[in-house]
């Protein structure tokens, strides 16, 4: 009997360990560059940084590099990345220089932003791309795609905006995309305040996705709540209150049980005497 009992206990714990291992599939990946993005004045999406209106002045400014191979980053292309929120949109600007940028080699250049849902790790399912058809005549188009198993499909209802402009060897790409937009459906990642999303900045010289992508890097952006909004979302607030209530109740019952144990000791001593 004792042997059986030990066997059953061992079985319970092995079963417990096996089950907890079998159902957990979490993607492991390197830590992307992380930053918080607050609010400012909405810039005009035209590919030009207007110094007179101080647009982008309140943006979070970051200098990153785009790499050929993210697992072995070397010889990156340095780019300036500016990010800000205004109204119900997220704005992203990328600015960089390339030698002979106006040459025909870059005529079909593109810069895109791939977005992964907050709980999807590095599974990027939404793409916003500014694709040049002819850089010398400044002809480009803004594309909103969704990605299914590495295949890019055009959105039925594209949203957001994008623009680009080359001046000398320096190019500016500007993007805007809606936050808290529930109408995007399954084609778009729904960006929410208070959550952190992974964004992949991609760059290429031929309009083929994803094989045309030659440089990329990943950043992680935490979208702050608008000014005046509560620090904690209602779900988190409810969760915190529930946690306090539940553990306080258990604690109170436990304290009552300890009190009963001390009473029991007195009772035993009374009976003995």
């Amino acid at each position: 009997m004792k042997k059986n009992a030990t066997g059953i206990i061992i079985f319970i714990f092995i079963a417990q360990l096996l089950m907890s291992s079998a159902f957990l599939i979490i993607k492991s990946y390197g830590t992307p560059i992380e930053f918080d993005v607050g609010f400012g004045t909405a810039p005009v999406i035209d590919g030009v940084v207007d110094g007179e209106t101080s647009e982008w002045a309140s943006a979070e400014k970051l200098e990153i590099e785009l790499f050929h191979n993210l697992t072995n980053p070397s010889d990156g292309l340095p780019i300036e990345l500016w990010v800000l929120q205004a109204g119900s949109n997220l704005y992203i600007l990328a600015r960089f220089d390339l030698n002979d940028h106006s040459s025909s080699e870059y005529d079909k250049e593109f810069l895109g932003i791939l977005i992964a849902d907050w709980d999807a790790g590095l599974d990027f399912t939404d793409a916003k791309i500014v694709q040049f058809s002819n850089m010398s005549t400044n002809n480009y188009s803004y594309l909103d795609h969704y990605i299914n198993d590495t295949v890019y499909y055009g959105d039925m209802n594209p949203n957001g905006d994008g623009a680009a402009k080359l001046e000398g060897n320096q190019i500016v790409y500007e993007f805007s995309m809606p936050v808290e937009n529930i109408e995007g459906g399954i084609e778009d990642v729904e960006l929410d305040h208070g959550d952190t999303f992974n964004f992949k900045i991609i760059f290429g010289k031929t309009a083929i996705y994803p094989s045309g992508i030659i440089l990329s890097n990943i950043i992680s952006i935490h979208l702050q709540y608008p000014p005046g909004a509560p620090d904690l979302p209602i779900e988190e607030l409810l969760m915190s209150i529930s946690t306090i209530v539940i553990f306080s109740t258990i604690g109170a019952f436990f304290a009552f049980y300890i009190y009963r144990i001390t009473q029991l000791k007195k009772e035993i001593e009374r009976i003995r005497s």
Binding site: M1, A5, I8, I9, I12, F13, A15, Q16, L17, M19, S20, S21, F23, L24, I25, I26, K27, S28, Y29, G121, M239, S242, T243, I246, F247, I250, G251, F253, F254, Y257, I258, R260, I261, L264, K265, I268
Partner: protein, 138 residues
């Protein structure tokens, strides 16, 4: 003469035995309750979201974190069942199903913040109850 002495000696041994059992049962009540309390405090930190053992996204560490959180609750259930079972025995009443259900709820509810921990705790608790039922039957 010798017979009376012998009877006295025998009855003394008989009296001492329940006293000893009583003492050891009371010690078990207290010790199990203390361990249960330590596990409850650990559970408040781990399952209440105030402390995370692992920050890494690594699968192995995440599994370890969840396993520890589940085991803390399961051991809380086991020790509290032992403690309350012995307490009830000392008061002369058996541990009825009502109390087991109460400890079951108090244990399971500790994992309400995490669905994975909740699922494995539920399975673990049910397995323990099935095991206790078998022991009782035997």
């Amino acid at each position: 003469m010798s017979k009376i002495k012998k009877e006295n000696l025998k009855s003394g041994t008989v009296n001492r035995k329940p006293k000893l059992e009583e003492k050891s049962a009371y010690r078990s009540v207290v010790l199990s309750a203390v361990i249960g309390g330590i596990l409850l405090i650990s559970s408040i930190f781990l399952n209440g979201g105030y402390l995370s053992l692992v920050i890494s996204e690594n699968f192995l560490f995440q599994t370890l974190d969840i396993t520890i959180r589940v085991l803390v609750i399961l051991f809380f259930f086991i020790f509290m069942t032992i403690s309350i079972g012995n307490y009830k025995e000392l008061t002369g009443k058996p541990l009825d199903f009502k109390f087991i259900v109460l400890i079951f709820i108090f244990s399971l509810i500790q994992s309400f913040r995490d669905s994975i921990v909740f699922s494995f705790t539920l399975v673990g608790l049910l397995l323990i109850i099935v095991y206790l039922f078998f022991i009782q039957e035997n």
